[in-house]
Amino acid sequence: MLIKSKVLKRFLKRKSSLVGGIIIIIFILVAIFGPYLTSRNPLDIDLRNTYQKPNRDNWLGTDNLGRDTLTRLIYGARITLIISFTSVFLGTLVGLILGVIAGYYGGLIDNILMRTTDILLAFPGLLLAIAIVAILGSGIMNTMLAIAFYSIPYIARIVRGVVISIKGLEYIQACEVIGCSNFITIINHIIPNSMSQVIVNTTLNLGTAILTSSALSFLGLGVQPPHPEWGAMLSTARDVMRTTPIAALIPGVAITLVVLSFSLVGDGLRDALDPRLKNN
């Protein structure tokens, strides 16, 4: 508990991370309570009012089919955050398991797993996601799977490195001496002690996941219309960028803000959880 409050104190000391955290909390609240914030439907079409500038009825204007941009932005927050959280959680879980197995057991298992991650790392992130979507087809579920899949090798690599360094420490040897099984050692000692690295990378990955899901939707490979996803909104607004720039600006600013916030929080967590600073 003492350590946790110290970490929190160090995290809160960094003002930029605090601001990032507040922005993320606001977006999460908007995503949860979306329907209470607006009485309109994000899919309601009004062809007489397409490409409206911000006005009293439509605070952030309307899109190519006259749908209210603010409502779509609010409902889009749900889809974007669900995709990023689920995919990063899945990717981290699998990556953690693979990394721990590779790092703890070593030898042939380590070799096989790490060469496989090497192959996956040879593909740039977005490219791998596009390739997976090509195999599975587009849609929310497949976008999540694609992003989860490409974040596995990064997490597995990091966890493996941490596990190898922890494995040599005295308390793990002590655990072996008193007769702990491998499973107990991994669950009770290895995983909790490698968590700080995992948390930092998960937070940083969330930003990348949002960018990738937006990029996929922008290309028409991710979330399909008429679902309100930020990348897809940006893609629709692209054709009228010169005449109605606000339509592209709003989802663009939302994506930038959330990705920036996740990266600020990730940096803050990295500084707060850094073992070299623990004694200060």
Binding site: A122, F123, P124, G125, L126, I130, A134, F218, L221, R238
Partner: protein, 115 residues
């Protein structure tokens, strides 16, 4: 990136030695410090290249350029699997070759590195 690598290098002993023997600051910065700070910068350039190659799919779609990236996206949309396979393989190979070149450049930047 370059800033943090430079700060790290400028604290080294050999920079102090160069200053002590009266080398001009310009010469120290360019021939000693920058050269030694280049290794992490090179690594990042290599890794960033992958992002740029994959990002070409986005850029080419936005600006209507008929390049490999757009070819790949069109292949995905029309379920043209051989095109997707070929473009993905081509981009991944280019990425690996660029990282190989980066690895070889390490030796030019820092002759102490041996393969």
């Amino acid at each position: 990136m370059t800033r943090s690598a430079m700060l790290d290098v400028l604290n080294q002993d050999y920079i102090r030695t160069s200053r002590a023997k009266g080398m001009s600051e310009k010469l120290i910065i360019y021939s000693h410090a920058l050269k030694n700070a280049l290794i992490p910068v090179l690594t990042v350039i290599g890794l960033r290249f992958g992002g740029l190659l994959a990002g070409s799919a986005l850029i080419e779609s936005v600006f209507g350029i008929r390049g490999i990236g757009r070819f790949m996206v069109d292949g995905v949309l029309t379920r043209d699997y051989p095109v997707v396979q070929a473009t993905v393989l081509l981009i991944a190979t280019t990425f690996i070759i660029i990282n190989l070149i980066v690895d070889l450049l390490y030796k030019i930047v820092d002759p102490r590195i041996k393969y």
